[in-house]
Assembly symmetry: D2
């Protein structure tokens, strides 16, 4: 049994609190937020949990082994570093930090102290994304493209652009699913409200192979869309997260190349239009799976699926994409990243 | 009554032939193709129509006032120039020509001889696109973005990339619908078959205003998608060409800006989530409407909706996009184009 | 402020508890269930609430003004009568009782004692159904038909057939929405598990006018469907409860009759295929609205939207439909029901 | 090579003409219609085909071996009998005749003269329906229910009700797909236009086993629906004819019965929610397949898939359903029908 505290009881914090409250292996000791009304809400619902607006109090509490940070991204670095330096494990909301420099320092600190640093890339714990990874690794053949659309009429945010708010989901999924890491990124986008961050953006990701990836995010769309297409030489996937029961569809479609030297083009390309199937998807709540894994990692000194390295890789792309967007889509190279264990 | 000939009886030619055969005002005099089997097919179905594999014969035939060119794009320039120089009007398939230089010379030749030069941008004659133009011009407010996805498992083509094959539709629709012309373009894409043109591509179009446009085309998608989102400050449109009866949906959704100097962000952005409506769309066949207009333009010396200038504008973007794609998305400026009448 | 108790903490009870806990005006005093594990669950989540497995204890508690009954239907009558005889108000799950005789006696008891007897016809408090009622009362013209499909792979129940489990929703919605009451009902159906109640059923409802209603319910369907069509002489409605944001679509479609004596049929029937619109729907939680209304009715001695009369009308149809189903669809007349106030 | 004539060039006749024109093995000799304008249309499109408004002329023409009848249903009997008595084969539109008595006499006449009598149940030649039959015969287990919805804003017809116009499709599909024949039928419905046939109807079909079938047809629906659910003990099918590429979906879903004598209900019923797959469907035009088969049957004296017996079985149900509808859903028994060869 490990003792846990949650910092930040805004949009996502209540989900962390509810799940930590319910999973065995974790004891939710305290919740911290700067707003009194939120602390009252916690107290009404979980009278047994200690509430405080003083973060440092958590650091001093010996019953707390790990802290989950669900504050605005700007505070991640400071709070995570304090937590690690107090010798406690960390689960931090995505994006992991406001810059790759911050993320790297968090990662190094955790490695030095042999503490668990997990990043809350929730989607990689869903049944749909895990199924997609299985399919990409075995069945799709060569991966040709990864194309994702994540748009809706979303809350405009002051502090981060739509890239940091929405594309972070796709980048964390891609990081988990694809067999290759991108080597460069470009992005275009626009802010339609003067002085505010971009509310629409398009990202291109370049790889060493012929794989090409693209992400479309938009806070100003009239309809909600959450669709990813993954094309491979053997099969293709349509992942629609809004489908209630058939989130993943696998198509036996594509072209078959004939590598003979024949000149007749119809001989070169053959079309396959076979069956489609929608595998049964495990619908267990992803966050519960993730938090159970986090507890297990803390207890047994293991590495979580989405560790600080994954968090850093995603932040580096977000950073490069933002830079590219500011320069009308200039390609920004992503230096090779050595894994920090 | 004008006399018409059609050159090219492959994929699209039969539609031109069928419509010219049926509309009043046109007399289908001859069909030309290099393949004998196709000429036999014409003769079986339209015994009254003359067939030939000799294009020059059409030029000499005084009963022919206009020639519709539905050959591969590489032949457009040569055939159109011959037609114009023989004093006959031209309707040419899209894309208008294989290069902007060719397109410009065709346009200049037609202008010099005061002949009609129409480009078969069929979509601009559909009820859905005409309705979209009406809405964009009156009701959408400032246009923020134009986003189109046109993907399916499509026939790979040897001579042109997916940009020239599919994006040409979106570019011709945008040229008709949007109040502004793009000033620059960038494109990324990939060919997944060695030695062949790109089969997937993403285009960004830049404008002087805050309008941003994006086109996704793909010959290697497992599902067919034909969806366009147009976001405006007052309303937004979803145009789904695969919907049988509700192709255009208009959403009273968006954000409302409060231009007071207040610092509180929630005061700055208000969300509107109002009604949606799907206007009744005229379902008359677009090609029939287009050909009737072409006949009228020839008879009364009028300018068609999609004239050579529209065709040239589209070809210039295709050309710039291809160039950008070859340079990993470098932004290519589109010089301002003076209208040639 | 009224004191409330909830009996039954199985499938639906937790929703009643959560909402009574949160709405102002109600004080959740106690929860009663026969299973100890459920009482423990209540205590963990709501330590301030008293738990008991002794229903009579609730009756003796002077702090409890009203009891919400969420037990299996067989127990509704006994528990509701005890509650009323103890001078307390009642909110009872749908269906209101296991027979119309029971329902009538509950209704009479409540009337005699001037206590509130509300039935939890939750759907009539949703934004979609309220909008549908507005449209039916003003805009649809003469109502021609009401057709509902409510199917999915649902939990088989031992004690009640699919009619009592699923059709009860449609009947409560129809009771609220339609301007007329049915005068007869017939039903066919089948049990595919020996010895169990019917798992698929079709109900026809007959009216004095030309209105016709039909309900299809099925526990053994591979996909979930929740769709209602309402056809009127002026407009038609499609209500799809699974649509996330466009639950109600209103179509300006139909036929227009020409009552001239002309013999030519095309003159008699004209087709209208006009616009469709999807009005914005209030998405507030229906149960919260309902419970707020219940509290207000208790406090101010008002009649709830779904009172005992509505509950009885629905039970009478369920009863008649079950009888009809057992006789291969024989039409069962519904005697006219005098309102009991 | 057989000589063919088509009678009736209204809604469906042109499809018969076009297909007979194109398939090898058939020579389209003549087209007959009472309206001159239609004959002119035939002549313009098929100058080689003889046109006439005199049906008896076809009977005398020795080049004509078979006649396809695509007139209103009231004329089927008279024209088919004349054709058979002239020693020619017949293909007749569905429904085969206006009464089962007529259908039986046509069938007997054809049997006596050993002529082919085919009924144009087009759907049974589609890839989707053939796939559905394969699945029902092998893979679905016991068939529990067959439920079909076929509604849209359809042309009102003066001479026949919506049952004869739309349900005829479902009945012909069921006749082909299901392993059992219905033993009784009931129907309810309504005419919303005074003096006209019913425009909405619901049919129940009863079988000796636990199979139950239901058909909903409606000419006055705001949206077009063509959906059939077939539930079996092992698998279930959703057939949506409006889906462009996934018309048939097969679900590995249902309940599994445990025939142990245990009392615990959860032990009795287990839920299966497995994969779904959508088999590739042959998209060849059904009418072409059907006419090729008809030609082969004439040439080799074979029995077509939809012969006069199938046509008669469907007409008997239509007749019984109409009778039931007139009596508010009284169950009408279907006497057992001996096959007439």
């Amino acid at each position: 049994m490990i003792g846990v505290a949650v910092v930040g009881y805004g949009y996502w914090g209540p989900n962390l609190v509810r799940n930590f409250w319910e999973i065995p292996g974790a004891c939710l000791v305290a919740v911290c937020d700067l707003r009194k009304d939120r602390l009252v809400a916690v107290q009404n619902r979980y009278p047994a949990v200690h509430v405080t607006d003083d973060f440092d109090e958590l650091l001093r509490n010996p019953r707390i082994d790990a802290i989950a940070i669900a504050t605005p991204v700007a505070a991640h670095f400071k709070l995570a570093m304090k937590t690690l330096m107090a010798g406690k494990h960390v689960l931090v909301e995505k994006p992991m930090a406001a810059s790759s420099d911050e993320a790297r320092r968090m990662l190094e600190e955790a490695a030095r102290r042999r503490l668990v640093l997990a990043v809350d890339h929730t989607f990689v714990h869903t049944g749909a994304v895990r199924k997609m990874r299985d399919l990409v690794q075995d069945g799709l053949g060569d991966v040709y493209y990864y194309d994702s659309v994540r748009v809706n009429l979303g809350l405009f945010q002051r502090d981060v652009s739509v890239i940091w708010d929405l594309a972070v989901h796709d980048l964390s999924i891609m990081d988990y699913v694809l067999p290759e890491r991108p080597v460069a990124v470009s992005a275009t986008g626009m802010s339609h409200i003067a002085g505010e961050p971009a509310n629409i953006a398009y990202l291109n990701l370049f790889f060493e192979s012929k794989l090409i990836a693209h992400i479309h995010v938009n806070w100003l769309a009239p309809v909600k869309v959450r669709r990813t297409l993954v094309g491979g030489s053997s099969k293709m996937i349509l992942y629609d997260d809004l489908e209630p029961s058939e989130k993943i569809k696998v198509y036996d479609r594509g072209v078959t190349l004939n590598d003979s030297g024949e000149k007749v083009y119809q001989m070169l390309v053959g079309y396959r239009t076979g069956d489609m199937y929608a595998p049964h998807i495990d619908v267990a709540e992803a966050l519960e799976i993730e938090l159970r894994q986090f507890v297990e990692c803390v207890e047994r000194n293991k590495t979580p699926t989405a560790d600080g390295n994954a968090g850093l890789r995603v932040v580096k792309i977000l950073e490069a994409a933002s830079q590219s967007l500011a320069e009308r889509g200039r390609v920004v190279e992503l230096e090779h990243m050595r894994r920090i264990a």
